[in-house]
Amino acid sequence: MTQGCEAATIGLRPADVVMRLERLGSAHQTRLSFLRALLRRMRAESWRIARLRFDIDGKGVGTAIYTVDVGERLYSLVAFGHDLAPERRTDRVIAEEWDATFALCDGIPNEAGIERLRRNVPLQEVGRYLSSELVLARANRSVRLFDQVLSALCEGRQPDRAAVEATGYLMRTTAVYGNGKFGIADRDLIMDRPELTGPFRAEMLTVYLIRAFTVDLVEHLARLAGGSRAVGLEPALRRRFGIGNATGLGMAPFLVKHPALVDRWITARETALAKVRGVETAGAREIALFRAALTHSHRLLNDWLTDDAVQSRKIGELRRDLLRLDVFATDTVLGGSRPFDAIYRFAEAHLSVEAQEYAVTLVIEPHGELVDGLAEQMAIDETEGLRIDGSLRCADLRRLIEAHCGFAFEPDFRSEEARARFWYVSEEKLEPRLGERFKEPGMEREQPLAVARDIAALARVLADERPETSVARFLLTHPEHRHSVRRVAIAARHPYSEIWGNLIGAELRPIDILRCKLAFFGATRFDPRSDRWLRITLFQGAPFPDELASCDTDLWAYGA
C-alpha cells in the first residue's frame, strides 16, 4: 500500500507553465482522460452491449444496430454502411459522402425511426435530427489496411501485425457531433444522467461502438467473400485496432469558447499530479504499475509514426528521454521518499517538454484509487460565468487583469507579426478557418479568439478610466470590451481557463490547441498532417465490449 498523501505540500503547477502552447501541444492521455473514465464506468456498472442487427451486404452497404444497456436506460448506435467511390473519400469537412455514418440514439428506434434516420444520417450536416438522437458521426476506411485485413481474413490467416500497428485502425471518424447540432439533443437534456455526466461521454461512447462496428464489419465482409475459409481476428491482435480520427480547425475554438470547462479539465489533471507527487512512499503495486507502464511505453512509442517534421523530432526526443527516465527510476529512487515527485522533478529538469508531460501520465497511472474520483469533477455549469459583477470598480478590474492575465502582455500587439492571423468562419463550409490578416480579405468578420490582444486593449482603456467608476457603468459606455471583462472575471476564479499564448501570432501552430483537447479525450499517436489538422487513434488496445468484464488492467493504454 502507498503510505501517506500530503497533497497540500506540493502545489499545482502554475498556469503560466501549464497553459503554454508548447506544453498544451505536448499533452498525453492520462487515466483521467474521457475515454478511460468511460471504460472504467462501463466495467464497474457492467454495461451490456449487444449487436442487435447487422444487415450489411458484400459491398459494405446496409444497416447495423448496437444496443447499450446501462441498467436505467438503453442507448443504441445505428450504423449505415455505404459504397463510397475512392474519389469521393476525403477526411476533410468538405466531404459529402462517407464509408459509414452513425447516430447514437436514446433508446432503440423502431422501423419508422430507422427509416427516418436512413433518410438523414447519411447526409450528416445536411440532414435534420430530433432530440432522440444524441450524437451524429461518420467514418472513412483506412483503405490500405482495411483491404489488407479483409483479404487476409478471407484467406483464413491473420493480418500482418506490423501493418496493423503502422496504421492502428480500420476506419477513422471525420466528425463527431453532439450538443444540439442539427437538431439532436441539447447537452442540457442528458447532462443529469449519471452515465453521461462526464465531458463528451456520449461522444466517447459513440466512438467506442463505432470501433466495434469496424472490426465486426471487416470480419463480416471476410465471411461473405471467403466463406468457410475465412477466419475472425485473433483477440490480442483485434485489440490493436483502435478507431482513427481526423480533426481540424473546427475543434480549435472550443477550448477558447469554454474557459471555465477547460479549467476544470486541467485542474483535475494538475490536482492528480500534485497528489501523486505528494505520496510519501510508494507501495509495491504502484512501483510495479509504474514500471510496467514505462516498459510498455518504449514499444508503444516505436509504433508512433508521423511524417510531420516537428512531431517526428519530438517523438525521437521522447524515446530518448524515456530511456533516461528508465535509468533514473532505480529501486533506490522508487523506494525512497516522495518517489513520484523525484521522477517528475527529474523530468522537469532534464527532459523535453513532450517527455515531461509523458512523465505526468506515467506517475499518475499507478494511482487510480487516489485520483480516479477527479474524473468525475471535470464537468461544470458554464452559466455560472454568465453574470458580470458590475459593482466592481475599474481599479479592481485592473488589478484582476494584472494578477491573472499576464498572457495578455507578452506579445507586442503593435507588431504585425503578433497580429498576423485571424480566425473566421468560412461561408463555404461554415467551419472555423485561420486567415492571414494582412493578405486575405475578411478580418472585419474576425471571431473572438484573440483573447490576449483583446484583454490588452481593455487594459489600455481602463488605464484612462477613473478608478472608482463601476464596471457596470464602464461597460454601458464600452460594450466592445464586454467579452473581455467576462473572461477576466472567469480567469480570476479559474486559473487554467486561458491559454498562455498568442492565438493570432505568426508562429501559432493550431494543432497545439487541438492536441490538448484530444489528449483529454484519450487520444494517442498524434499524427499532424499540416499545422492545422491531424490524425489520431482512440481506444487502441482497449478491451472490446465482450472483453470488458474480464479485463482487469488499465495497462492496455500502454499497449500491454
Binding site: R89, T90, D91, V93, R128, S131, S142, V143, R144, N179, G180, K181, F182, G183, I184, A185, D186, R187, D188, L189, A246, G248, L249, T383, L386, R387, I388, D389, G390, S391, V425, S426, E427, E428, L430, E431, R433, L434, G435, K439, E440, P441, G442, R445, A472, R473, L475, L476, T477, P479, E480, H481, R482, H483, S484, V485, R486, R529, D531, W533
Partner: protein
C-alpha cells in the same frame, strides 16, 4: 421547424454579431434567446426586428439608475440595457426609458439573486431564476415592440413559484419568418472563400485514400 436550444444560442450569437453588436453583447443576446425559448416565449421576431434597428448605437444618458437615450427620437436596445441591468446586481429601483421589445429585458432581470418586478405599459411581471409570472396584463402584452418606460422594482411579495427548469424535450418550434431573418444576419459573420483561403485556410489537402 424544430431546433435545439444550442442551435438557437449559436444562431442568435452570430446573428447579433453579424448585425453589428459587439461580441460581449452578442453573447448576452444569445443567452437571452435561450432563456426565452426554454419558456416557450417569442425571441425570433423581437430579435430580428431589434437587429435591423441598430438601436444599440444610440447615445445613452445614465442618471443614477435611470437610463435613457440622449435623443428624444432614439429608442434603447434591450440587450445593451439588459446587460447593464444584469451588471447592476440587486440594485432597485431601476428605470429604463424608451426601450424596444421589453420582453428582451426579462432574461436579464431574471438573473438577479432575488425576484424583481418589471412594469411597463400596464403590464406587471415578476421574474427570477428560470421563470416568470404575469401579475397584470396578458401574454400579448409581452409582444409589445416598445415601451416608453420600464420600471424594475422590488416586488410587494415574492410568491414566484419556481417552476422546475423547463427542458423542451422535443426541441423548440420556431417562427420561421423571424428565424430566417436571424439567419440572414448570421450569414454576415461568414467570410467568402478566396483562392488562398481554399488552399491554406484549413491546411493543405492531401489524398485520404490511404
Amino acid at each position: 421547424m424544430i431546433v435545439s436550444l444550442n442551435e438557437i444560442e449559436m444562431t442568435v450569437l452570430k446573428a447579433a454579431r453579424g448585425a453589428g453588436l459587439p461580441w460581449g453583447l452578442s453573447e448576452e443576446a444569445a443567452q437571452a434567446a435561450r432563456w426565452l425559448a426554454r419558456l416557450g416565449l417569442p425571441f425570433e421576431a423581437p430579435l430580428a426586428s431589434l437587429l435591423a434597428s441598430q438601436a444599440w448605437r444610440a447615445d445613452l444618458v445614465l442618471n443614477g439608475t435611470h437610463l435613457r437615450s440622449r435623443s428624444d427620437e432614439a429608442w434603447l436596445c434591450p440587450i445593451r440595457a439588459g446587460a447593464w441591468l444584469s451588471d447592476l446586481g440587486d440594485i432597485v429601483p431601476v428605470r429604463i426609458d424608451r426601450v424596444l421589445w421589453p420582453i428582451l429585458l426579462l432574461p436579464f432581470a431574471a438573473r438577479r439573486t432575488r425576484p424583481v418586478e418589471l412594469a411597463f405599459a400596464g403590464t406587471r411581471l415578476l421574474t427570477g431564476g428560470a421563470t416568470f409570472a404575469i401579475r397584470q396584463g396578458d401574454l400579448a402584452a409581452l409582444r409589445q415592440p416598445m415601451a416608453e418606460r420600464v420600471e424594475v422594482m422590488a416586488p410587494d411579495s415574492c410568491d414566484l413559484e419556481q417552476a422546475p427548469l423547463r427542458r423542451p424535450e422535443g426541441g423548440v418550434e420556431i417562427d420561421m419568418t423571424g428565424w430566417s431573418k436571424l439567419q440572414g444576419f448570421e450569414a454576415l459573420t461568414y467570410v467568402p472563400a478566396s483562392l488562398e483561403s481554399r488552399l491554406t485556410g484549413a491546411g493543405a489537402a492531401q489524398s485520404d485514400n490511404d
